[in-house]
């Protein structure tokens, strides 16, 4: 079967075209273990079968990044025919790549994608075809690709702009080669990897490059662009508007209004997703589900009695399904809004506003959406991280997202905090939210400085215009993400639910313990309790509640209620029971309560989020993420407990003096280092700390 390469600028609509043309048989091939995906799919045209190979976007045939290297290599080394997809609105820049393909002697079919309603150019197809000497087709990659029936490949090598370039300085070097001119072009582009692939020796390349005029890259780029100016003038009518510029930006990107506008938009999305609309849909789904499960549960209860099998089905399996389904509306709504923001072009603007602030801690501007949605639900928010441009900032965003205090933690703060802090609890809760953000920023910064450095490949990005969203595309995104969530994440969630159920209802000798006493979970809780002594709560029931909280944070409160023998819906009674020294779950001091709350905030949010992490960033990073979560939770709780404990014992003044002392010490160290750095009189280029000059 004949393979055809699909090549084009980033964002020109390659993937859209790819999906329109080929509908089934996805084959994903990995190159070099880095996630550079080269997708292959079959399609048939006029009775013939072809394989279409999608490649990462490129601007020219001189690669800058690894992904581009992959594309350039296949284009230059294979003899495959090329479909070059061009975005009509950026026609000139897109045709630059076309010229590179023509120079390389590829047989090309240019497909001009006219996706926007408002078009920058009106193209005369025949004229363009004649001027370029390659087949030109015009179509809408999303809606109508009928034109593709005229698919044809040729290369008449018509463009003669290269004749105007003076290659004399290096032409003699290539006198033994057939394709002298092309080698000259590549030399002018200073494309070292090309010559290495052509088996030139390193020193030969250096010697050739040394003969080039200093601005050789500019000469060749100018020659191409001048030719393209001519082409556009002859074959196109140009509209005067600037692609990507909008009057709306005067408000939405205004110095003072940008942030308030963003916050308002986000608040609306947040409210709809997690409260009004989302909650409504969640409730509807769960009552729908109970219509099906209640009869089955009752049947089991009737025939098997209050047995293990009944609880397995009712609590573990149906409970798990209910949890998964209760997330579904959120997933759908989050992705709906994300795709609206993305398609409309607003997300690029948000990324622009936040790039410098989040860039400082190693995240990207687009992380904002994921992080803020994390306040609603970490699990679904992590899923939106896949939208990020590069792999490292995606991993960082996903790992850091759980520190945003999710809505499931509010009951813990309300019930446990409320019992001890009363009216002041609101300040405790605000403090916890802020602490989460601070921890997230710190961890992201640390990851950025160590293992997950930001790579600056996306230093130049095209800025999209505002667009109408496409319902078809949004529908597709929603369907795909919901499917992914239900099948992959849902299955892990339910199986984890069953495991925790088994742990909490069986002892290590596999005898069934219906009320949880003597169960594996409790034994583990008792075993782990001493570890938590430095945090102020070595109460085994608290530890068991935290363990059970791995399933979902709502379970923490209900476990506490179970241990204290109170109905879990009576929150006030739970709060009161926490104050009684006779209760099973009991906190001895405010310090230990604070430390418990901080631990709840920072440790693994829930199994669902872990399974989501596995899906999104892989096992390795999930393990790293979970370890970081546990360690930070432990360390921060430890610090909080000890400071709070010291305040309780020694009073405010003493601790404040102590903290002030530490602060002064730290700032002295900082000032000392600052002065030391300033002292160096030499203005060296790459100033190292150990300057020996």
């Amino acid at each position: 079967m004949e393979e055809i390469l699909l090549v084009g600028n980033p964002n020109a609509g390659k993937t859209t075209f790819f999906n329109s043309l080929t509908r089934a048989n996805e084959h994903v091939g990995n190159w070099h273990g880095v996630t550079v995906e080269e997708k292959k799919k079959e399609f048939s045209l006029n009775g013939e079968k072809f394989t279409l190979v999608d490649t990462p976007g490129i601007y020219s045939l001189t690669p800058l990044s690894f992904e581009e290297e992959v594309s350039c290599k296949i284009v230059l080394e294979s003899k495959l025919k090329v479909i070059n997809i061009c975005d009509l609105n950026n026609l000139q820049r897109n045709l630059y790549l076309t010229l590179c393909l023509i120079e390389a002697g590829k047989e090309v079919c240019v497909v001009i994608n006219e996706i926007d309603r408002r078009q920058k150019y009106k193209v005369n197809r025949e004229k363009l075809e004649a001027l370029l000497g390659v087949k030109v087709l015009m179509l809408n990659a999303e809606k109508n690709i009928d034109e593709i029936k005229n698919l044809d490949f040729f290369n008449k090598k018509t463009p003669n702009y290269l004749k105007k370039v003076d290659f004399s300085c290096i032409l003699p070097q290539f006198s033994n080669f057939d394709d002298k001119i092309y080698l000259c072009v590549k030399a002018f582009e200073r494309d070292k990897s090309f010559f290495i692939r052509q088996n030139f020796k390193e020193e030969d390349i250096e010697q050739i490059f040394s003969k080039l005029p200093e601005n050789s890259m500019e000469i060749i780029a100018k020659a191409r662009y001048e030719f393209l100016d001519e082409v556009i003038e002859k074959a196109c009518v140009k509209n005067d508007f600037v692609y990507g510029k909008s009057k709306l930006d005067k408000i939405l990107l205004n110095k003072y209004l940008a942030f308030p506008c963003f916050l308002v938009i986000l608040a609306i999305i947040f409210y709809l997703t997690f409260f009004s609309l989302g909650a409504l849909l969640s409730d509807a789904l769960s009552s729908l589900l109970s219509l099906i499960t209640t009869p089955i549960s009752n049947f089991l209860l009737g025939h098997l009695g209050d047995s293990f099998v009944y609880h397995l089905f009712n609590d573990a399996i149906f409970g798990g399904v209910a949890t998964v389904l209760s997330f579904l509306p959120q997933v759908v709504l989050l992705f709906f809004f994300l795709s609206v923001l993305e398609d409309s072009g607003y997300l690029s603007r948000v990324a622009f506003i936040f790039e410098d602030i989040l860039g400082k801690v190693g995240l990207s501007g687009k992380s904002v959406y994921t992080l803020l949605m994390g306040f609603g639900c970490s699990t679904t928010a992590i899923m939106t991280a896949r939208n990020m441009d590069n792999k490292n900032s995606k991993i960082k965003t996903a790992l850091v997202c759980p520190y945003m205090s999710c809505s499931a933690k509010i009951p813990i703060y309300a019930v446990v905090g409320g019992a001890f802090f009363g009216a002041n609890n609101i300040f405790v809760i605000i403090g916890l939210y802020l602490l989460g953000v601070v921890v997230a920023i710190t961890i992201s910064k640390l990851l950025d400085m160590t293992v997950l450095k930001s790579n600056n490949q996306t230093f130049i990005l095209e800025f999209p215009p505002y667009r109408h969203m496409s319902l078809k595309r949004t529908g597709k995104v929603l369907l795909e993400n919901s499917k992914h969530f239900l099948v992959k994440v849902g299955s892990i969630m339910i199986s984890m639910n069953v495991i925790v159920f088994l742990l909490s209802s069986f002892s290590f000798s596999f005898s069934y313990c219906p009320d949880g006493t003597g169960s594996m979970l409790q034994t583990i809780g008792k075993f782990l309790a001493p570890i938590f002594a430095p945090l102020g709560f070595d109460n085994w029931a608290v530890v068991s509640a935290l363990l059970a909280g791995l399933v979902a944070k709502e379970v923490v409160v209900s476990s506490i209620a179970m241990f204290n023998g109170i109905d879990s819906s009576a929150t006030r009674l739970i709060s009161e029971s926490l104050l009684l020294p006779t209760s099973v779950v009991y906190f001895s001091s405010n310090a230990s309560v604070l430390s418990f709350l901080v631990f709840s905030l920072l440790y693994v949010p829930c199994i669902a989020s872990v399974s989501m992490l596995i899906q999104e960033v892989g096992k390795k990073w999930t393990i790293v993420g979970v370890i970081i979560e546990l360690v930070t939770a432990y360390v921060v709780s430890f610090i909080v407990f000890n400071i709070a404990f010291a305040i309780e014992i020694f009073g405010w003044t003493f601790v404040l003096i102590l903290l002030a002392f530490v602060f002064i010490l730290l700032s002295l160290i900082f000032i000392y280092r600052f002065i030391k750095r300033k002292k160096c009189p030499f203005n060296c280029k790459n100033c190292q700390k150990k300057c020996k000059k």
């Binding site: 601007y59 630059y96 780029a221 990507g244 510029k245 930006d249």
Partner: protein, 73 residues
């Protein structure tokens, strides 16, 4: 003559010279950013780390560290 990094918002400039790291210069060339070309600074991000630049009828967002290599007038 100043670098584009020092350029002001809502002003047009003409490029005199593009220099800097080879990789970056090459990408600028591919995007049609070379001497003689006119451009316009549309916007800067809050900490002035990213610029929105209009060139050849479309808009690019460029990190400001790269812009110090573009000399304009």
């Amino acid at each position: 003559m100043i670098t584009l990094k020092e350029g002001a918002v809502n002003k047009s400039y003409r490029i005199v010279e593009v220099k800097g790291e080879e990789k970056v210069v090459r990408r600028f060339m591919e995007l049609g950013i070379f001497s003689g070309q006119k451009l316009y600074i549309l916007n800067k991000s809050p900490l002035k780390k990213v610029f929105l630049v209009e060139i050849r009828g479309y808009v690019l967002s460029i990190k400001s560290t790269l812009l110090s290599g573009i000399m304009v007038e």
